[in-house]
């Protein structure tokens, strides 16, 4: 768990900071064109960050960072027959390798979501106040965020956090044929988990919308 979180921290901070910067930049720029009023930028940005971009982008990054890592590790264990060796000694590779990563991934997903949103909001606030001169108090407002945003986001985090290690470990276990096989497995893990995150995100968002959450 420590390794899943720690490795990803700098990575998530970097990508989410740039995401926060760009979202506020674009929102302010577009708002200036349509309505010359920048007061809704902050609340709308924070609300969207919590509900939409936070879980999605953090999950995409986690899929890239951790999914690839899990696939690379289980993949190289598979091609070097270590998985077979485990089965021989009666240690269930799924229980031993996947279950701990599964639980760690769900917890880390939630933690990193909070962390990612905070970093993005901090970066967004920076550009919003300094570049576009929005009042700090106007910008940092939770009026655009509801409790249902938080619940939907939390639900997404749990689902994404669960999906990534399963897909990654599955690709890893199916690796065959030396270093090339491990490369393939890692590639597959990244593509599958990125796509699955986007697909699940769409499904959850649509259902949430229909029920008016």
């Amino acid at each position: 768990m420590y390794s899943i979180g720690n490795q990803s921290l700098v990575f998530i901070a970097l990508t989410l900071a740039f995401l926060g910067l760009i979202l506020v930049y674009q929102a302010s720029y577009q708002a200036l064109k349509v309505l010359p009023d920048l007061t809704p930028v902050g609340p709308v940005f924070i609300g969207t960050m919590v509900r939409v971009f936070g879980p999605t982008v953090v999950a995409l990054m986690l899929a890239t960072r951790v999914g690839a890592g899990i696939a690379a590790e289980t993949g190289s264990m598979t091609v070097t027959d270590q998985i077979e060796a485990m089965k021989v000694t009666n240690a269930d590779p799924v229980e031993y390798l996947v279950v701990p990563r599964f639980i760690a991934s769900i917890i880390m997903m939630i933690v990193l979501w909070v962390f990612g949103v905070l970093v993005a909001v901090a970066a967004g606030t920076l550009i919003g106040t300094l570049r576009f001169g929005i009042q700090l108090r106007t910008f940092l407002s939770l009026s655009g965020t509801t409790m249902s945003d938080v619940w939907v986001a939390l639900f997404k985090c749990v689902i994404f956090g669960a999906a990534i290690p399963i897909l990654a470990a599955d690709s890893g276990f199916k690796a065959t044929g030396g270093s090339e096989g491990v490369g393939w497995a890692t590639t597959k893990a990244v593509v599958h988990s990125l796509f699955t995150v986007i697909l699940l995100d769409f499904l959850i968002s649509s259902i949430a919308y229909r029920f008016g959450w």
Binding site: I22, S76, S179, T186, L194
Partner: protein, 263 residues
């Protein structure tokens, strides 16, 4: 040579991360220069290998890019749906989804997907060639690996990501249109009209410019990690991992700077 002091402190870790980051960026800049030098030697341009790469990259990534793009467009429509419901301004849906898809979310997500599919694969392929001495085999045959292997990949990735982003944008809008009707219950015509009325040409072109730079960045990052693989199967796996992570960081950073410079 004195052995560097190993510390496990937070600050030690932090410092090491920075040193490694700078070394990586330095090595990638060098690789970039070598690619440009090879590009200048146009007479050595390998036409066959370039066509093979274009074809391979295109075929490998087209389905996944289309599927991703469609769902990304759909996602953007659902996300804007909440605000549309709050304000009742249904005409804004086309503008919101179109702007998001063309200028930011489309290029970024297609880029991430491309890096996962093509960049990762490229790292794995080059890495395997390194571990099995195939790169050295090229050198002893008097063939420059940069000119023969890297330059065609670099060019092919830029060209392909450009076209994939253009195609992906269309599928994203279509995905958005269907979602507009199916999930939001808003007539598709309102959505399409909204897109046409908001004159998004500048956003569309900016997205394509981003694709060119993303393609170049993914190519350099994935080739860099592939060429410096050490240590067998485990090394290849780790290199692929580093490759996709670095590509993602590069995409978000490059994206920010292009938007700021463009607007």
């Amino acid at each position: 040579m004195s052995k560097p002091v190993e510390t496990d402190s937070f600050l030690g870790n932090f410092g090491r991360t920075f040193i490694t980051a700078f070394q990586t960026v330095g090595a990638m800049t060098l690789l970039q220069l070598r690619i440009f030098r090879s590009l200048l030697a146009i007479k050595n341009f390998d036409y066959d290998e370039s066509v093979t790469q274009l074809f391979k990259i295109g075929v490998r990534s087209l389905p996944v890019v289309i599927a991703t793009a469609a769902f990304v467009g759909a996602l953007m429509v659902v996300a804007s749906g909440n605000f549309v419901r709050a304000t009742g301004a249904t005409t804004l849906i086309g503008w919101a989804a179109g702007t998001a898809v063309f200028s930011e979310v489309g290029p970024i997500l297609i880029g991430l997907m491309f890096s996962g599919r093509v960049g990762a694969n490229n790292t794995a392929e080059l890495g395997t060639m390194v571990v099995t001495n195939q790169i050295d085999a090229l050198r002893v045959l008097g063939i420059n690996p940069i000119g023969y292997l890297i330059v065609p990949r670099f060019m092919a990735m830029i060209v392909m990501l450009f076209f994939l982003t253009a195609i992906g944008d269309l599928f994203a809008l279509t995905g958005g249109a269907i979602t507009c009707r199916a999930v939001l219950g808003i007539d598709m015509r309102i959505y399409w009209q909204g897109i046409l009325d908001s004159n998004l040409l500048s956003e569309f072109i900016m997205g394509l410019v981003k694709a060119i730079f993303f393609g170049g960045a993914i190519a350099i990052v994935s080739c860099h990690w592939g060429l410096q693989v050490t240590g067998g199967a485990r090394g290849v796996g780790r290199a692929v991992n580093d490759s996709v992570v670095t590509s993602a960081i590069a995409i978000f950073m490059v994206n920010f700077f292009i938007t700021v410079l463009w607007t």
